[in-house]
C-alpha cells in the first residue's frame, strides 16, 4: 500500500526514458511502454526509493503552486497506487 511515509521506487522491470520523437517520457517494461505526461514523469523520476510520498508531493507543489494541496496529494497517491497495482512501482518503506 502506498502511504504518505512510503518511499516508492520503480520496479526492477521498469525504466524511464525520454522519447525524442514524441518529446515525452516513456516508462518501459517488458513488451510494453506507457507514455507519460509531464507530471507523471516528474513523479516517477522521484521514485528512487529515497523520497517519501510526502516529499514528492512537496516537490510537486513547488511547480504546481496554484493547485490546492489536497488535490495534488490525492492525485499523487492515486497515481502511485495505480502504478503499484500494475507492479511498476514498489511501495518501499
Amino acid at each position: 500500500m502506498i502511504s504518505a511515509e512510503s518511499r516508492p521506487r520503480l520496479a526492477e522491470k521498469a525504466r524511464l526514458r525520454f522519447d525524442r520523437k514524441a518529446q515525452q517520457y516513456l516508462l518501459l517494461f517488458p513488451e510494453r511502454g506507457l507514455a507519460l505526461n509531464p507530471t507523471a514523469a516528474e513523479i516517477l523520476k522521484l521514485c528512487t526509493g529515497e523520497h517519501t510520498v510526502e516529499a514528492i508531493i512537496e516537490r510537486l507543489l513547488e511547480t504546481y503552486d496554484s493547485q490546492p494541496r489536497e488535490a495534488v496529494e490525492r492525485e499523487v497517491v492515486a497515481f502511485l497506487a495505480g502504478m503499484a497495482e500494475r507492479g511498476l512501482v514498489k511501495a518501499g518503506r
Binding site: 522491470k13 525504466r15 526514458r17 513488451e31 507492479g87
Partner: protein, 367 residues
C-alpha cells in the same frame, strides 16, 4: 504514411538455430533457407538505425539467441542506445558467468520459455532434455537481480495444468508470466491436430488465470493470450501491419512480423542492401497491408477495422491461400468454417494421442 507511424519495438531474430525443437515453433518451416546470418557489425548498425527511427524496445530472440557468441557486444550497444533490452530465450546453452556478464552490460529483462511443469512433458514438447536446466537458469536470473518473465506456450496437453504452471512461476519469483496459447501458424499449424485444445479446456484455464491475476496483482503480472481459434474476432496481429513492430530475420530481411516472408508475392528487403528506416518507410512489402485500402469486405466497412486491422495476414494466407483475405478467425469471415472444422476436430481428438512433427536438429550440444 503519416509521420506518426514509427516502430517502437525491434524484434532482432539473431538466428533460427536452436537446440530445442518445439512442436509449435514460430520460425518458418523453411528456416534452413535463411542460414546466412548477419554479422555483428551489421546488427550494431541495425540497432543504431532502429533507434534513429524511434525504436525504444529491443527483443533479442531467435531461434535461440544464446547460440550467437556476440550477444555481449550486442547487449552493450543496445544499452548505450538506451533501448529496453529483453533476451527471449530457452535458457540453453548458458552459464551463470555469461549471464552475469549480460547483467553488467545492461540487459534489462530475461524472458525464459518453459514448456510444461514437469520434465517429462516439457522435454517431450521441446524435443530435448532441458527442463531441469531451465529451472536452474530461472534461479540464476533472479539471483542476479534481473526481472524474470516466464513464457509458457499453452496447448491441449498442458492447458489442464495451468494452475501448476502459475504455482511454478510463483515459486521461481517470476515478475511476469505469459500464458500464451499457441498461435496456429508455422510449426503449430503443422501440429494443430495434436495441439488445439477444446473450448471447455480453454475456459477452465482462463478462469484459473483470471483468479490468479487478481490474487497476484502488483507482484506477478499474468498475461493470458487467448487463442484466436476460440475468440469471436481476430487478434490485432503485431498491433497492425507495419505500425509498431519491425522484425529483422537472421539473414537481414526487414519484416512486419516474424512470418511475413512466408507470404508469396511480397518483396521484402534486406538491411544488407538498404537502411532500416528506408525499408520501414517505403518498401512495397511493408506498405502492402498498411492502412485500410487493401481490406476486403467484411473488414472494409467493419467498425472493428481499426481495432484488429483485419487480423493476421499469415493466418489468412496459410488457411485460405489469400494473404489479403479477412482472417478466418473472425466469425464474420466467409472462411470461418475452416476454424469451426478445426474446433470440431479438437473435440473428436479428446483422449487420443496424436503424433508430433519436430523441427530438425540445428544445434548439437556437448555435455
Amino acid at each position: 504514411m503519416s509521420s506518426e507511424v514509427r516502430p517502437y519495438t525491434l524484434v532482432a531474430e539473431l538466428t533460427y538455430k536452436c537446440p530445442l525443437r518445439c512442436v509449435y515453433c514460430s520460425n518458418p518451416l523453411d528456416y534452413g533457407r535463411h542460414a546466412d546470418e548477419l554479422d555483428t557489425g551489421t546488427w550494431l548498425r541495425v540497432f543504431q538505425e532502429a533507434e534513429d527511427l524511434g525504436v525504444v524496445q529491443l527483443n533479442l530472440t531467435g531461434g535461440e539467441p544464446l547460440i550467437r557468441n556476440d550477444l555481449e557486444p550486442l547487449i552493450e550497444e543496445a544499452h548505450r542506445l538506451d533501448l529496453y533490452t529483453n533476451l527471449i530465450t530457452g535458457g540453453i546453452p548458458l552459464t551463470v558467468e555469461r549471464l552475469t556478464r549480460f547483467r553488467a552490460l545492461g540487459l534489462d529483462n530475461v524472458q525464459l520459455s518453459i514448456q510444461d511443469v514437469g520434465a517429462g512433458a516439457s522435454d517431450r514438447i521441446a524435443g530435448l532434455r532441458s527442463f531441469d536446466r531451465k529451472l536452474e537458469v530461472a534461479r540464476w536470473v533472479k539471483n542476479l537481480g534481473f526481472p524474470l518473465t516466464i513464457n509458457v506456450v499453452l496447448h491441449r496437453d498442458n492447458l489442464d495444468r495451468v494452475a501448476d504452471v502459475i504455482a511454478l512461476a510463483e515459486d521461481l519469483s517470476a515478475d511476469r508470466l505469459e500464458l500464451a496459447n499457441a498461435q496456429y501458424v508455422g510449426w503449430a499449424l503443422q501440429n494443430r491436430a495434436a495441439l488445439l485444445p477444446t473450448r471447455e479446456q480453454l475456459e477452465r484455464a482462463r478462469a484459473i488465470a483470471a483468479a490468479a491475476r487478481a490474487r497476484l496483482r502488483g507482484t506477478m503480472e499474468i498475461l493470458f493470450v487467448t487463442p484466436d481459434y476460440y475468440s469471436e474476432f481476430p487478434k490485432a496481429c503485431m498491433d497492425g501491419w507495419g505500425r509498431r513492430f519491425v522484425v529483422v530475420s537472421p539473414d537481414g530481411l526487414v519484416l512486419p512480423c516474424h512470418a511475413a516472408h512466408t507470404l508469396p508475392g511480397l518483396e521484402f528487403e534486406s538491411v544488407r542492401q538498404r537502411a532500416l528506416g528506408d525499408i520501414w518507410r517505403d518498401s512495397p512489402g511493408f506498405n502492402a497491408f498498411r492502412g485500410e485500402a487493401w481490406m476486403p469486405e467484411p473488414c472494409r466497412s467493419c467498425d472493428r477495422r481499426a481495432i484488429d486491422f483485419g487480423g493476421c495476414r499469415c493466418q489468412a494466407f496459410h488457411l485460405t491461400g489469400k494473404a489479403a483475405a479477412t482472417d478466418p478467425a473472425c466469425r464474420l469471415s466467409p472462411d470461418h468454417g475452416l476454424i469451426e472444422a478445426a474446433r470440431a476436430q479438437a473435440l473428436e481428438a479428446v483422449g487420443r494421442a496424436m503424433p508430433l512433427e519436430y523441427r530438425a536438429r540445428t544445434v548439437s550440444l556437448r555435455g
